[in-house]
Symmetry: C2
């Protein structure tokens, strides 16, 4: 049967990635919930926070939900705002930074098999 929840009801957990500063996320949908193609995670980066500049062999699909930030794209910081949609190909370097005064929030999807919970 279909699962229905609200993002605010999903526990906020620290992001364990080395180099992550002020980053937490909620795993809203994963293989725990049944058969699905991508895990749906909601990230919250605190003011001054950032993810590490890194890459991995699978794609990201992103949707910015709140605040203002940047993404590193081929050496340049590109500004991001709510409603922005990103496709980051596998193996491409990327990094997110909060450049605003409030929380920088975005949904980040990855192929389900790479979400370890």
């Amino acid at each position: 049967m279909m699962k229905i929840t609200n993002v605010e009801a999903v526990p906020l957990e620290p992001v364990q990635l080395p180099g992550a500063i002020g980053c937490a996320y909620r795993v809203a949908l994963s293989t725990r919930d049944g058969q699905l193609s991508m895990a749906m995670r909601f990230f919250e980066i605190a003011p001054g926070g950032q993810t590490p500049l890194h890459q991995h062999p699978y794609e990201h699909e992103l949707y910015v939900t709140a605040g203002t930030g940047t993404v590193w794209r081929e050496g340049r910081e590109v500004a991001l705002h709510p409603g922005d949609v990103l496709l980051i190909p596998a193996d491409e370097k990327h990094q997110f930074k909060n450049t605003g005064r409030g929380t920088f929030g975005f949904m980040c999807l990855i192929p389900a098999q790479f979400q370890k919970c």
Copy 2:
């Protein structure tokens, strides 16, 4: 290289599904954009509008972005609000209705191979 766009910059197209009333959508990410696991589409249902009660052999992942509506789940209408997240398993019947006065909006992801554009 990563694609960055904004949902408002993506053309709004009518939903061609038989039985759909007042439904339009934006295909923000699909196989046109490169290798990816799921197509990201943003639906807008006008006041009084609805999708048909239907099913298909692949899952939906949803995130409600605006307005108020309902989803049909095993014979009952369940209220939906912004921030709600849904996983609709393959082959499960579902239908969305706008029950508010404004646009009812949600992101709906499907496995990329089923998005025909």
